[in-house]
């Protein structure tokens, strides 16, 4: 039994399944491609098992707070009730479920995400000071693209503004982006190799 607990087994599983999928594409062996196309469907199922596992953690955490009357327990009770009512509505009374999703889930999700916009402006106000030439370039380019994304830039500065920004978008920006894509690709390949050799264990639940 202690053999099965060894950390090398998850590493080996990672390598076997990963390399099977990788080599199936380059090998051209039909049987390997068939196995690979079956394996590719597994994350669909495993993701759903993982979601349900995550819910157990949520319920356990908030149930503990409610049962022991820890700080903020009424809010934990509220979260658990909202969870149970929404889930039950999905199975028992679909119109209520649809109403909850459309008017509560969607509204609250978007409302929370709005903070990104608000803090974007405070970031602009507080954190963007032109202290060096490099920061000046960054801010000038960002202002140009802010005006480029809406018709305002062309209205204020004329069609030449759009042509200049289009050129910056197509060449200098694309150059930097292309390099980042190449560097990221090298990083992904190295991460995969490190995972296969056992140097990276974070993705398999280890330290």
């Amino acid at each position: 039994m202690s053999v099965l607990k060894r950390k090398e087994i998850p590493v080996a599983l990672f390598a076997v399944f990963g390399l099977t999928v990788l080599f199936a594409y380059f090998s051209g062996v039909k049987e390997l491609e068939s196995i690979s196309s079956s394996l590719i469907t597994w994350p669909v199922t495993l993701a759903m098992f993982a979601i349900i596992l995550g819910i157990a953690g949520f319920v356990g955490y908030h149930a503990r707070i409610v049962s022991k009357r820890l700080g903020g327990w009424p809010y934990s009770l509220e979260a658990l009730l909202a969870f149970v009512i929404t889930l039950a509505a999905g199975f028992v009374f679909k119109p209520l479920y649809d109403y909850i999703v459309t008017n509560i889930v969607v509204t609250l999700t978007v409302a929370v995400t709005c903070f990104v916009a608000f803090y974007n402006y405070t970031l602009f106000f507080r954190a963007t000071r032109v202290r060096t030439v490099w920061v000046a370039i960054l801010i000038v380019v960002s202002i140009m693209f802010i005006l480029w994304m809406v018709p305002v830039g062309a209205m204020i500065f004329g069609p030449g503004f759009t042509a200049v920004v289009d050129w910056i978008y197509a060449y200098p920006n694309a150059g930097g982006m292309k390099a980042l894509l190449i560097v990221v690709a090298v990083g992904i390949i190295l991460l995969f190799i490190r995972g296969c050799l056992g140097y990276e264990k974070s993705q398999i639940g280890g330290e």
Binding site: E33, S36, S37, S38, I40, T41, W42, P43, V44, A47, M48, V101, T102, V105, V106, T109, V110, T113, A117, F118, N120, Y121, T122, F124, F125, T128, R129, V130, I139, S142, I143, F145, I146, L147, M149, V150, P151, V152, A154, Y169, A170, N173, A174, M177, K178, L181, V184
Partner: protein, 276 residues
């Protein structure tokens, strides 16, 4: 802290102005949007299209105009040119099922009331495959072996029993691959080897990342953000939510430039001397 609150309040007021008094600032159509429009209306008769709606509720707020206009164009082409649509979601980076809800919402709130479904038959003209979480693995499965990835459609019908899916097995059976998402790289990684035109309805945040792929021809055309969505609404003849929001976008962008420029001007002139 008070200054931050004033910024928040100021932003809310600035963005609210166009909804109280419409400004009606005209929106010119960009060449990229024209390419996107052409990629759809130029589809050959009888072809198959795959569309992946990988948007969550927050991205829906930004690009719903483009998504709805695209679907209206595709469903109109279904009647005129007998094209077929396979429509699904992989959940994107979050893996969440928001896309599935939004697909049904588009059908129930926009396509059906607008008469776009009249004369069309589910299973023969279009198929919904539902939520296929897994992102890149699901994207790969859609173009390698769609029957293995999605054994049933969104309603539980075995895929082998659906007439449309009998002739669709992999990427080479599609004339166009399309998607809506925050991202570009992941879709290019999994679809670029199919040698099939790819179009994308993207968030504005993906615009800078899309250029290297567009320049290489991996992406044939894309919509970049709410402004492009307003343009496609205009171009396609289906005005919608994106156009209505453009006035607020324009004012918000002007406010951003003010917030960037004014403190820096102050800092470069008076503030630096005072050591602030």
């Amino acid at each position: 802290m008070t200054l931050d609150r004033l910024i928040f309040l100021g932003l809310i007021v600035v963005l609210a102005i166009p909804f109280v008094h419409v400004l009606g600032i005209p929106i010119p159509i960009s060449p990229e949007t024209r390419k996107y429009h052409q990629a759809i209306i130029g589809l050959p008769k009888g072809c198959n299209v795959l569309w992946v709606t990988d948007i969550d509720f927050t991205l829906w707020v930004e690009i719903q105009g483009g998504e709805i206009a695209t679907m209206k164009m595709l469903f109109k082409l279904m009647k005129e040119r007998q094209i077929h649509l396979v429509w699904t979601t992989t959940g994107g980076d979050t893996g969440l099922p928001d896309g599935r809800i939004l697909i049904h919402r588009m059908i129930d709130e926009y396509l059906r009331p607008g008469g776009f479904l009249e004369g069309l038959k589910y299973g023969e003209d279009y198929v919904l495959l539902g939520w296929l979480p897994g992102w890149e693995t699901s994207l790969r499965g859609l173009v390698t072996d769609i029957h293995k990835l999605a054994p049933t459609d969104d309603f539980g019908t075995p895929i082998d029993q659906i007439p449309l899916m009998k002739g669709i097995h992999s990427g080479k059976d599609f004339a166009l691959l399309g998607y809506s998402s925050y991202y570009v790289d992941q879709y290019m990684r999994q679809w670029s080897d199919q040698k099939v035109p790819i179009i994308a309805d993207l968030s504005a945040s993906a615009v800078s990342f899309a250029k290297p792929w567009f320049a290489k021809g991996f992406v044939s055309a894309y919509l970049g953000g709410a402004a492009a969505c307003a343009e496609i609404e205009q171009l396609s003849g289906y005005p919608g939510p994106a156009a209505a929001a453009m006035d607020a976008q324009i004012l918000g962008h002007i406010a951003a430039v003010v917030v960037l420029v004014v403190p820096n001007l102050y800092w470069l002139t008076i503030g630096r001397k005072r050591g602030k």
